[in-house]
């Protein structure tokens, strides 16, 4: 492989890395949800916490993104909102990611 080809591949890799990074950032910004007038991130940690607490209690308190306590009275609904947003965001990221893998082939 000549040096020009290597340079071209390097440029393509750079473009892909930036695009991937931006797509992930887009997914992360989409994870924010407002529930009961408070802000949450629909990330794995929040989903796991809510899922675990839901198994043990019918209502419980969690912290929002600013560390303010929020009472959750309908855990099922809250979990549904979190999972929906998490998957919406990650599905969009996956679609973008697929375009990178296609380019590699």
């Amino acid at each position: 492989m000549d040096i020009n080809e290597l340079k071209k591949q390097s440029d393509l890799s750079y473009d892909r890395a930036i695009a991937k990074r931006n797509a992930l950032e887009k997914a992360n910004s989409r994870l924010v949800v407002v529930y009961n007038e408070h802000l949450f991130r629909a990330d794995p940690e929040t989903i796991c916490l809510v899922s675990t607490l839901k198994e043990l209690h019918t209502s419980f308190c969690v912290l929002d993104t600013n560390n303010n306590p929020v009472e959750i009275n309908d855990p099922k609904d809250f979990l549904k909102v979190l999972v929906a947003r998490n998957q919406e965001s990650l599905n969009a990221y996956q679609q973008v990611y697929k375009t990178f893998t296609r380019r590699d082939k």
Binding site: I18, A19, E25, K26, R30, V32, V34, H38, L39, N66
Partner: protein, 249 residues
């Protein structure tokens, strides 16, 4: 409870901000809400093409501030509380383009005041690490939400006080840029009003294109830009575009 978006727009000798506003309003209507109030002056208003049913508030912008030697009419943001006709207001820079409805939900929070602390450089250069340019963490007054009440009023009164004495606060916090910046005025005011402790923030990073990115294409879903010899694009992601040439794309 009324909710809406407040935008500030004043043309300058060098930049046709009204063209940027036209683009922004279209996206706000599509993705955030139809209740929009634009704070402007007559000179700018007469250049605007019809934007549908939106409210206008006319003021004479305070002159004298500059950015890179050019006129920069940005010092009236502290009037947002007094000028907003809404109970809950989302204030945005007109060069922040909401290609998604991510911001809409912030109108439904119970918070009195929320502002973003972080920006994300879409070119991957981490060029918005402003912490080293002052002794106080900067906030981005590009996007903020407030609910009218005692607490929000106190914050805006504090911003007015900081603005009146900006030179003093600028020195005290060793802020590198000497021109007036809303970002620092709000950062100082929030710190002072909250007893030098933390305050509530929006958990988002504002995706931003630095001034050296040339905008190649602008659609209803996103933008394409060129930085050096690299061309990139993004869609369905809100973007803050710092290069004002976006008005002419």
């Amino acid at each position: 409870m009324s909710k809406g978006v407040l935008l500030f727009c004043f043309d300058t000798e060098h930049t046709q901000y009204h063209k940027i506003l036209e683009r922004c309003v279209k996206l706000v209507k599509k993705n955030i809400c139809n209740d929009i109030t634009v704070v402007t002056n007559l000179e700018t208003y007469i250049k605007l093409k019809p934007l549908g049913f939106i409210n206008y508030k006319f003021i004479d912008p305070e002159l004298g501030n500059t950015k890179l030697g050019k006129e920069w009419n940005n010092v009236d943001r502290h009037w947002a509380y007094d000028l907003s006709p809404y109970d809950v207001t989302l204030v945005m820079d007109i060069d922040y383009f909401p290609f998604t409805d991510n911001l809409r939900q912030f109108l439904d929070t119970g918070y009195d005041f929320l502002i973003s602390k972080e920006a994300y450089d879409l070119t991957g250069r981490h060029s918005f690490d402003h912490r080293r340019w002052s002794m106080i963490p900067m906030v981005w007054a590009t996007v903020f939400v407030f609910k009218k009440g005692k607490k929000a009023k106190r914050i805006f009164d504090m911003v007015k006080y900081v603005k009146q004495n900006y030179r003093y606060f600028n020195e005290m916090y060793r802020i590198y840029s000497k021109n007036f910046r809303n970002d620092y005025a709000f950062a100082v005011a929030l710190q002072q009003a909250n007893g030098f402790l933390n305050y509530d923030t929006l958990p988002i990073r504002l995706a931003t294109l630095p001034t050296d990115c040339r905008i190649l294409e602008f659609t209803d879903r996103g933008v394409a830009w060129q930085y050096n010899d690299e061309i990139s694009h993004t869609q369905d992601q809100d973007v803050h575009i710092l290069n004002k040439e976006v008005a002419n794309v």
